[in-house]
């Protein structure tokens, strides 16, 4: 069961800060340790940054997951930007199309427990990540 959805519109670098702060608060409310909340906030920061850098605008959705035996957090980053042509390449460390450090997607995958990406060139990108409480 997914509860308490929080939506953060991502239009500027200021919104990156807002998204990760809201993510940290939600993670703490869900009972995540402060260390895990830092990992979650960092992942949100990278996902929001990708939206600003590549799509200019999009949205981060944050929600708690109350499973039968475990509690987790779900973060969905979505945009209607240019999309990713080669997802496998984008998931390799060190890959970047903008001369930056890269999309940070491999790093985000390491920070979280579950990672799912769908993207269509010209239509946009959606990244859904989950972390379960230890």
């Amino acid at each position: 069961m997914v509860v308490g959805e929080i939506r953060v519109a991502i239009n500027s670098d200021q919104d990156i800060v807002a998204a990760r702060q809201k993510g940290r608060v939600l993670a703490s409310e869900l009972g995540f340790s402060s260390g895990d909340a830092t990992l979650i906030a960092t992942a949100i920061s990278e996902l929001a940054r990708n939206i600003v850098s590549y799509a200019r605008r999009g949205e981060i959705k944050l929600s708690g997951i109350h499973g039968s035996s475990r509690i987790g957090i779900l973060v969905i980053a979505s945009d209607d930007g240019p999309g990713i042509v080669d997802i496998r390449q984008a998931l390799r460390d060190g890959f970047s199309t903008s001369g930056s450090l890269g999309l940070g997607l491999p790093g985000v995958r390491r920070l979280m427990d579950e990672f799912e990406i769908t993207s269509q060139p010209g239509k946009g990108t959606k990244v859904a990540v989950k972390k379960w409480r230890q």
Binding site: T38, A41, T42, E46, R49, G102, G104, G107, L111
Partner: protein, 120 residues
Amino acid sequence: MEVPILKQGAFLIATFQAALSDADLNQLRMGLVQQVVKLRSRAVIVDVTAMDVMDSFASRTLREIAHMIRLRGAETVIVGIQPEVAFAMVQLGLTLEGVATALDLEEGLAYLNEKFKITN
């Protein structure tokens, strides 16, 4: 959000706040280098104790600050990276290679005093 830059003898100390945006970081980068030039500082301590997230942009900006200040002939020490932040940085594959780090402000000052043979 303004980052306070304090002058302590031949050193500058910049204290980062928790919620710095990319624009704040860019502004700080320019501000610090300008102050180093203006005040003829020998070194800069960047205190990131309050930063709860160090993402790719923040760590790249820190590296750039350190490299710019080195080109100016001064030294940079990053102090106060929290254990959880360090863990997240390693997971993300972020490094501060070639940049001096120290546990906290006190250690950073001790490192620089030793390096520049300054006795208080």
